[in-house]
Amino acid sequence: MAEMTGFLDEILATRGGERVLQCYQCGTCSGSCPVLAEMDYGPRRIMHMISMGQEEEVLSSPDIWYCVSCYSCANRCPRDIEVTDVMATLRSTAVKKGYTKDPEAKLGRAFANTIRQHGRSFEVELMIRFYASTLDVLGLLGMTPLALKMLSKGKLSFVPKNIKDTRTWRKVFGTAGRREEVA
């Protein structure tokens, strides 16, 4: 794991993360965030914590997983910081470093493995992979009425639509998502 100061440099080196130090803590991002009420810190404090190199607090915070990627913050940021993209970077960094408690991290892996397999999304397989990884039986039961509605509307297919060029596709995909177990 990187040291305290290493974390800031790591984020500064990412696409979209370059301008984190330009933040003057105005709070426009947190004021624009539709899920602020769910968060421990909110995007304004997350930006500050990055600049202070607080790797563990940032990467283990639930905030990064509640972000809905709506770009309200980035669109309004007077310092042109790509706050939404930084949140995405924090999620992938958290996964890479083993902070993967949140179900959204498991969904990301389930999604990646489904896409690796078919090249395109396949909802039924995605659901099976996701609920198998969360072991959330109540969640699965809660989804059943919706799944039945989708079925009755012809919106759920049990046959995947694969891309044709599967040979080079696996190379494009690399090793992402492969690890099935969760740290």
């Binding site: 696409r15 669109n75 992938s92």
Partner: protein, 287 residues
């Protein structure tokens, strides 16, 4: 004749087939040609990049490279999530030589040399085709519609519309004879990105959007995103429960409404696929 490459996106094959069907029919009726990108792949949505940040660029880039290879310099993508990913990737690669090299290394037997222009079908109609050229056969008279843009149709901000108060869909609906209502939630997020992992969050955000549409006196919501459609339509019964009221708000793709106004038959436009039935509304309007 206007021609675009067409990137349907995964949801258009199953969950939002009515968006795909109505988009193709409307474009055909307008005389705009769509050429589907052969062997397109998933754009990655918001989820794939969680496992590997670079895939957020390489997955969309493969589609851009395929488009280039197939001679399609401009493409349209109806799902706003795909639209955002493809558009952002094209712009990022266009602005960064090193990134282009990296992307091309990651794409076996393909390379992306040009900057593919990525448009949303809504803006291709309003900006390239032109509202004044639309021949309305059956005006949508008496229809009060809440035009819902959601998040990434207009964000990150671009040249097509205002991110905070977009208007293109409202203008289009007015052209069709409908009455767009004043809808303060038009750019608020439905929370669709976390609807599986944090359902209560999405239900809460979607509830605010639907309630705003109801309070604005809308007969229906028009939108341009399969993720928003799932949240507002499929999950509406759960929103009803959380709000303690029956909203009964039909959620339609804007292309379905354009189709009606262009004189396409109601039963060709996939209205039976919507969970909250728009049938009573369409009956009342005489379609």
């Amino acid at each position: 004749v206007l021609t675009y490459g067409y990137y349907p996106g995964c949801t258009q094959e199953h969950g939002s087939r009515e968006f795909d069907i109505s988009t193709r029919l409307v474009y055909e009726r307008l005389g705009i040609e769509l050429k589907e990108i052969d062997d397109w792949n998933c754009c990655g949505a918001v989820h794939v990049a969680v496992t590997d940040a670079s895939l957020g660029i390489t997955l969309p880039a493969r589609n851009l490279a395929l488009a280039e290879d197939q001679g399609l310099a401009e493409i349209v993508a109806p799902c706003t999530g795909c639209y955002k990913n493809l558009r952002s990737a094209s712009k990022a690669i266009g602005a960064d030589k090193a990134l282009r090299e990296k992307v091309n290394e990651a794409l076996p037997e393909l390379s992306l040399e040009s900057d593919i222009i990525v448009k949303h079908p809504l803006y291709a109609i309003t900006h390239d085709y032109g509202l004044d050229r639309i021949e309305v056969v059956r005006p949508l008279e008496g229809l009060k519609v809440a035009c819902y843009y959601g998040c990434v149709l207009t964000r990150p901000r671009d040249e097509f519309d205002r991110a905070e108060k977009p208007e293109a869909m409202d203008r289009l609906m007015r052209t069709l004879g409908a009455e767009p209502v004043a809808f303060p939630a038009k750019t608020k997020c439905c929370g669709g990105a976390v609807i599986l992992s944090h359902q209560h969050v999405a239900i809460g955000l979607t509830g605010k959007v639907l309630l705003a549409a109801k309070n604005a006196g809308a007969d229906c919501v028009a939108l341009a995103c399969p993720m928003c459609q799932v949240a507002l339509d499929l999950y509406q019964s759960k929103v009803d429960k959380s709000l303690g009221m029956k909203l009964d708000m039909p959620i339609l793709y804007f292309t379905q409404l354009v189709g009606l106004a262009l004189g396409l038959e109601r039963d060709r436009l996939g209205f039976e696929q919507q969970v909250v039935s728009p049938a009573p509304l369409l009956d009342r309007l005489g379609f």
